[in-house]
Amino acid sequence: MRSKKLTAGVALAASGVLALALTAWATGAVQSSAAAPVGSGKASPKKSVCGLGTGKKAKGKPIKIGAIVTVAPGVNWDEITDNVRGYFNCVNDNGGINGRPIQYIVHVDPINPELVAAFAKKLIEEEKVVAIVGTIDVMDCAVNAAYYAQKKFYVIGDGVHDLCYGGTPYHIPINMGPAYSTLGAAQYLVRKGAKSIVAVSPTGVDAAGTWNKPAVEFAKSKGLKGIDVHDPYPAQASYALKYVQLAGEGGGVILDFTTDQVLTVLKAAEQQGIADKVLWAGSTPAYDTRFAARAGSFWDGKFGINTELTPFTGKGPDAALYRAVGKKYVKKWGLSSFGQFGFLDARVATEVLLTLKPSQLTAKGVNTAFTKIKNWKSDLLCKPFYSGNLPGHVPNNWDLTTTGKNGKMVVLENCFAIAPVTPEIKAARAAEKKFKLTSGTSYPRPAWQR
């Protein structure tokens, strides 16, 4: 008797659960629990997906792609390669490169030129990568340009050294780099009425000591005092006073440091009551959710950050995909320009790989295809990206100014052209016009036209 009652109860409960489940399915209420995988779906002008967007794991023979990244005390650029890896993982979870997953190999350089040279050889000769994507290294452009020329490897990554920007055909940077970003910050300060420009770059990382030169030249071209300063990690309050004294009342100070280092200087200036004596700006690394969260209300709108890509808070499809990929695949880092660099490096490389036939997925095939990139658009870029088989590359030469306000990053100035104060920028703009690199048919084609 008791057993029958129990059976009846269990049956009733099971029916109830089944009925509820059917109702939920019919009304779409279960959609959230069975949400589509990140980066999956059909690509359209309003929706970006990871690679093919199939939502199915790629299981074929891996395609090896490599990178070299500088990680040293105070220099943690693995944020970029972590974002490259995150995007590739998303591609692998969405069908890979026509069924083949990407295997991403990263070598860490503690700022040692011998290691940088050895890593490039290891990647190409031992690990047999077909491409180098997402490299961000203090010395890679200077040390490995000749080797890449010999092996015909075109690196899609992010430059640091001046040679990455027009000095070699074998580095195609998606970022603008510290020198031009500092120049953009100087342009912002001059527009704000700064009476002088003090540009500060980090010694050790600014290996050639040239990052501040375009900004200083720009200041001088406007009849202003321009001072080129190189300092180590500005860990003491005296650095803030030094910069303010150098700039003088109403002058402008540009900090080309990472977020934590920028905040060290800004907080010291705030505490000493000298912050409002000058105008402040920084280069791209401070475009970071961590800046807005930590700077405090005193700095609302006061620190203009030259930002090499459009805001990660944007409504465009690539901005949305960057946030989604970051949330699922790159949990260690917040949203930042550096994260966006890695995302775009991986995204453009993936789009190129998807245009190739299986027989072309070799080092020769992939690197030849990299040289053909033209008028490739993303809502994260002010202007289309290209490589164009040029003797040197500065494809990212427009950007914007942002700032922290009420704990969030907001836009201060929309996209503007970086001043053509160097022969490399002038050459890039001339090539864009001559070869129609930012207009006409795109390569790779947008995903929805693939």
């Binding site: 080129d228 180590p232 860990a235 003491q236 309050a237 006073l241 934590d260 000493q272 000298i274």
Partner: protein, 309 residues
């Protein structure tokens, strides 16, 4: 272009504040060395670890009030130093001071690795002290406002040095410290509990270490393991100038190092913009220590090995 006197003077209070922290650490280092013969290279790393833990308590828990986190930073400094002293003190007791000191380098590297692993540079960290924000109660010197944290650092350095000097001179335990410093074996045969005396020195030195880490992180508005760890260089230089004996000389040497380091910032365009004197400010502790040792060395020989060892 040489700096104006007006500009130069403004760097002095900033240098005094940082120098005070060097001095606090230097005093802790000297007390430990005088008692145990150990020159603790891990001083900065231990202080840094305490501040990282305080950061987590403040930012990653909802139950811990800030004052408790500050206390925790000091306790971690004391606890960790004591633990090291208890475990390795007896093991190295009979060894040359150079061996004892080199062993603390191992601890430094272990702690640096732990901090890099547990607190990677993916987050912007800083531990703010309440005194950092007492803006209206700071003092204006020239164009620069001197926060209460800086004033407290200076007061703490002088207070600590005076108290420690008085403690060593007038208390029984202080006399025992000095006796152990003079000759450990003879002191032990006189019935002084040498092990207990040394243990207390490790503990006190550790507390001072935790406090100096906390003060420095407040002064530099940043929590960065390498910077805090290498704080020990300036403190060691000050301790060497004090011949690892004199607390007051150590303190004043530390203040001098801080002030010179800070004032060199004013020479950012002299003698040339491309090679300014300010580039060499990091050399300050070494240069001052070498000059002091050369001058003092004419009068008395200084060696890391103490008499009888």
């Amino acid at each position: 272009m040489l700096p104006t006197l007006h500009n130069l003077v403004q760097f002095v209070p900033l240098g005094l504040a940082v120098g005070a922290v060097y001095g606090v650490s230097g005093v802790g280092i000297v007390v430990l060395y005088r008692t145990t013969g150990v020159l603790n290279f891990a001083y900065g790393a231990i202080g840094a670890l305490g501040v990282f833990i305080a950061f987590d308590l403040i930012n990653k828990t909802s139950w811990c009030p800030n004052w408790l986190a500050y206390v925790a930073a000091v306790l971690v400094g004391g606890g960790l130093t004591l633990a090291y002293g208890l475990v390795f003190g007896p093991v190295f007791a009979a060894r040359d001071p150079l061996v004892k000191s080199a062993a603390t380098l191992g601890l430094t590297l272990i702690l640096l690795a732990i901090m890099s692993w547990r607190w990677p540079a993916n987050e912007v960290r800083a531990v703010q002290l309440p005194s950092d924000n007492w803006h209206n109660f700071g003092y204006q010197i020239g164009d620069v406002r001197i926060s209460w944290t800086k004033i407290i650092a200076l007061m703490f350095a002088f207070g600590l040095t005076a108290c420690t000097a008085a403690f060593l001179r007038y208390t029984k335990l202080g006399t025992a410290y000095r006796a152990v410093a003079s000759d450990r074996e003879i002191t032990a045969t006189l019935g002084v509990p040498v092990r207990r005396v040394e243990t207390s020195a490790w503990l006190v030195s550790g507390f001072v270490c935790g406090a100096s880490g906390l003060l420095l992180s407040g002064l530099i508005n940043s929590l960065e393991a390498v910077t805090l760890t290498f704080l020990v260089i300036s403190s060691l230089a000050a301790a060497l100038i004090g011949r690892l004996q004199s607390l007051w000389v150590t303190l004043f040497a530390a203040l001098l190092i801080g002030v010179v380091e800070s004032c060199l910032q004013a020479f950012s365009l002299w003698p040339t913009e491309s090679q300014p004197l300010s580039q060499y400010r990091a050399m300050t502790p070494f240069v001052l220590a070498i000059v002091a040792l050369l001058v003092l060395g004419r009068r008395r020989e200084l060696t890391l090995s103490r008499a009888g060892h």
